[in-house]
Symmetry: C2
Subunit: 110 residues, 2 copies
Amino acid sequence: MAHEDHQDIVREIKENMPDADTLFELADFFKVFGDSTRIRIMCALFEKELSVCCIADIVGMEQSTVSHQLRVLRQENLVKVRREGKQSYYSLEDEHIQKIFEMGLEHILE
Amino acid sequence: MAHEDHQDIVREIKENMPDADTLFELADFFKVFGDSTRIRIMCALFEKELSVCCIADIVGMEQSTVSHQLRVLRQENLVKVRREGKQSYYSLEDEHIQKIFEMGLEHILE
DNA sequence: ACAACATATGAATGATTGTTCATATGTTCA
DNA sequence: TGAACATATGAACAATCATTCATATGTTGT
């Protein structure tokens, strides 16, 4: 790391970077997309709002597992809940999700 | 899970879902964005191609750590390398990355 | 109030992963 | 060829995380 303009480049890029907190939050946000169970849950919710047991059936996992993962999605404001009788109906909170999905798909299908 | 049209909904949504392999790949792809070190590396590379030691300086981590993470980014085709003398210069492989970033930022800043 | 159902949550476990240290590989220059 | 530098990689460790089981909470109808 001793060539002529190394320090200049480092300083310049450091200055132009978003602050560390923002990037940390950003990583946390994308972390949610990095699990196939959550991906499948979100994918199912593209169609319509669904109850927890419906989702569990669709993704083929325990109700408990799905509940835990829905909490993760809720904490990152990716889904919202609506109580109706005994059931909780979940739906997507944000229209960015579909676009992020599409871009991911474009990338892996290249 | 015993109300009238539960099974119909489950079947319908299952049919319209992308196949499991694709969604698994998609999760692996987003997993790469789910770490703040990798996020910061990619962010630094938005400006220009950089050598490994430059990146290590910018993100403030060991050269070894950065090398390991660059390998992860390479495996998912997010960066490419160019050897020049003793140094390896990394740059972004794909223009989707910036857009995915922007959408993530839009989400967390809402 | 009680039974039946739907959902949420805490604890425990196994698996995955990010980081570091030590070292190997690759490259240049003398 | 050997020294100096840049990068890559394997092993080890600590930390994080997804899943499951058991159980608690919440809701409806009798």
